[in-house]
Amino acid sequence: MITFEQVTKIYQSAEQEVRALDEVDLHIEQGEIYGVIGFSGAGKSSLVRCANLLERPTSGKVIVNGQNLLSLSPKDLREAKRHIGMIFQHFNLLNSKTAFTNVAMPLLLMGKSKKEVEQRVYELLDFVGLRDKADNYPDQLSGGQKQRVGIARALATQPSVLLCDEATSALDPQTTESILKLLKKINREYNITILMITHEMGVIREVCDKVAVLDQGSIIESGSVFEVFAQPRTEIAHDFVSTVMHDEIPESVHQLIQSQQSTNQIFRIVFVGDSAGTPLLSQIAKRFDVEVNVLFGSITELQGTPFGNLIVKFDGEPKEINRVIMQINQHEVTVEEVLGNVS
């Protein structure tokens, strides 16, 4: 649906050139919600802006709906853009126009009849839950409502792709959640492919199917959200995951462990899906001669599947602990030792 082939974007200034994107390859399937995460300056904005040529890549191919956008004439490109909706961090609405006219704008540009425009705009305002705000100006709307207007406007021409440029970054957490729900609904009901960039891992966790981590203009890691959350391969990915997973042992707990003189080992156990429901730890405590102490735990939901993360301390003979690990390994969980032996 959207394919980036060797996309490079270089900003040339008098003193230096900045490589915002460095030979990026990216493929997004029809109907997917694809998230790209990275720190500021990683090149996220350039990436999403290259997807509708708001910025022209220095080299490479951007293929959307089977067309290489870079090879299109200005006229064909404008036509192609009607199939690519976009929403922005700061909404970018016309402040001088009502919500109705803002949503109507793409249709007015196409020269649609008044009747057609009216019907479609009310349909869209209904969809985003703002029909009663049709005659309000952006200044009379909250941030979330403005973004809903932005979304309705982006959908006006029935695009097959929606680009989201930090669409929730200017919103509070509750509003963010409602906007994300709306995006998910759009994806489901209209089967629109969504490419979103964000610096918030929570956003990725909430709605995305797949995620790519962008650093210094390159994609350093990508995969299903599940894979990346369960086993981040790069440090940056791990850092992003830990912003929402909280899998670090709190300092106070850490100190507590170190102050205790005993032979114990600390493990991280990741439960996925059904295994999150098994009473694994209580079975272990019953069957083996070890003390089980849960130091830290979190459980979250990824793509409708429970995803648990526990840090436990096993207190007992090393031999016995080994047997425990073997037992755990028979289940659908991953276990790894952390911090080494702290005794």
Binding site: R82, I84, F88, H90, F91, N92, L94, P106, L109
Partner: protein, 216 residues
Amino acid sequence: MLVDWNQILVALGETITMVSVSLLFAAIIGLPLGILLVVTRKGHLWENIAVFNVLNAIVNTFRSVPFIILMVAVIPFTRLIVGTSIGTAAAIVPMVLFSGPYMARLIENSLLEVDPGVMEAAQAMGATPRQIIIRFLIPEALSSLLLGLTIATIGLVGASAMAGAIGGGGLGDLAITYGYQRFDTVVMIITVAILVVMVQGLQSAGNSLSRKVRRR
């Protein structure tokens, strides 16, 4: 001392004619010029540095000549256009030349204030450059454009008073010939008072109009 009210009314009419006609022509010159000064600059819709530099230099040249000198300097041109260099019609030519480039600057400033994000949204939805100017740039800048127009109009009121110096007629002419040269203080005070009221009125009208379209 008798005040000839009829004379004052005629002068007022002349001033209004001069200001409104020059305003119309200045806008016809200033609006496209102002738009071009925005869209030909670096990174804009019709980036063209050469055109921008030329227009920029022309505007600066006209803006740097004092009006009283401009009036005299363009007399041959004025004669070419209206057939005479004296009178109300003749005053309009230098007034347009004075106000057009000034208005272009004011319009340029207003248009530059428009949030680049709005332009980006317009481009993302596949608007043509023309549509971007007409449907996005101008409506978004309208409130500020109206304030600029008010400033330009008041500038023209001032210029029209100076046009009295070359016999352009109007309130300025009256103030100079009667008030200044014949020591008719009453006429001078009356004309100045009318000008003050006019400027006040224009400014409040401009402000309220601008507020109306701002919708905030």
